[in-house]
Symmetry: C2
Subunit: 142 residues, 2 copies
DNA sequence: CTCTTTGCAAAACATTTGCATGCCT
DNA sequence: AGGCATGCAAATGTTTTGCAAAGAG
């Protein structure tokens, strides 16, 4: 899956939902596609302010949440902060992640714990679940 | 496991670590043992301020983190807020939880996704993981 | 008597909102 | 032109910290 296709796809989703294309939005998506890891709003702002010195936090927040709504990004919380990553359309199937605590890089895991739940939640109304593995990736391990 | 034993155990851990017994700390632990669900600092403060009208947020926060350090409480994050629950010593073995989104009640799950990870994380340094299931408990489902 | 715990207040931090201006379509 | 996007600033909500006073051992 090429980066460009991913970005085009993200822009598509913007337009489908009647949101407008802006260069800032593209730059934001591009950053996530390039990095392919969990990033905080602060990370994004740090990077984006190089290209758009006047870019404000509110715009970043608004766009992070917009893209999350659109399914372009996915988010998780860690240490009181929200982290986002690109929700690649290739991996359209349900999956979970290993997250490197050092660099934030992610690795998709092809197992889902719900598959081994058995009858334990009989009578319960299961809505969502969260499964994430944390540690150091091979690069950061050294 | 009786409530009293759980509370005594928690107080034990305080003393072992050279922290002092106070009535506020006992009341806090007792609240968690009685409720047996995930509670936010706000929940705790709401309840505690009935008994200790002058009790301040800082004390609650400090004690929530203290007990978490001691292994008496465990915490998770949801919607930008931290939630705590009593880490029962009976269930000393590793486990995960179903959490009711409505009442916060928890149910221990006896499966751990790490058992089906296989070789996927070969080369990675796995430190921790998080697995939680959210939904409605049988009572709240109605 | 000493050292921890608490209350108070203020700060820190991430996030959200209102409003006027500016830009995409 | 019209409506969404942005910047600015201020507000919100949660959590943390410094310091002096009160309390446990």
């Amino acid at each position: 899956m090429s980066k460009e296709l991913n970005i085009e796809w993200a822009i598509e989703r913007l337009k489908e939902a009647n949101y407008k294309y802006t260069d800032k939005r593209e730059a934001l998506v591009r950053y996530f596609v390039d990095k392919d890891r969990y990033l905080s709003a602060k990370d994004v702002q740090e990077y984006m302010s190089e290209q758009f010195p006047s870019l404000s936090f509110d715009t970043i927040y608004r766009n992070l949440y917009l893209f999350t709504e659109l399914g372009v990004l996915e988010s998780t919380e860690l240490n009181g902060e929200k982290y986002f990553h690109f929700a690649c359309r290739l991996s359209g199937h349900h999956h979970h992640h290993f997250i490197c605590k050092n660099c934030g890089k992610i690795k998709a895991l092809d197992v889902c714990p719900m598959s081994i739940m058995g009858e334990q939640l009989e009578g319960y109304n299961v809505e969502t679940h969260r499964f994430e593995v944390y540690g150091l990736c091979p690069d950061c391990k050294k």
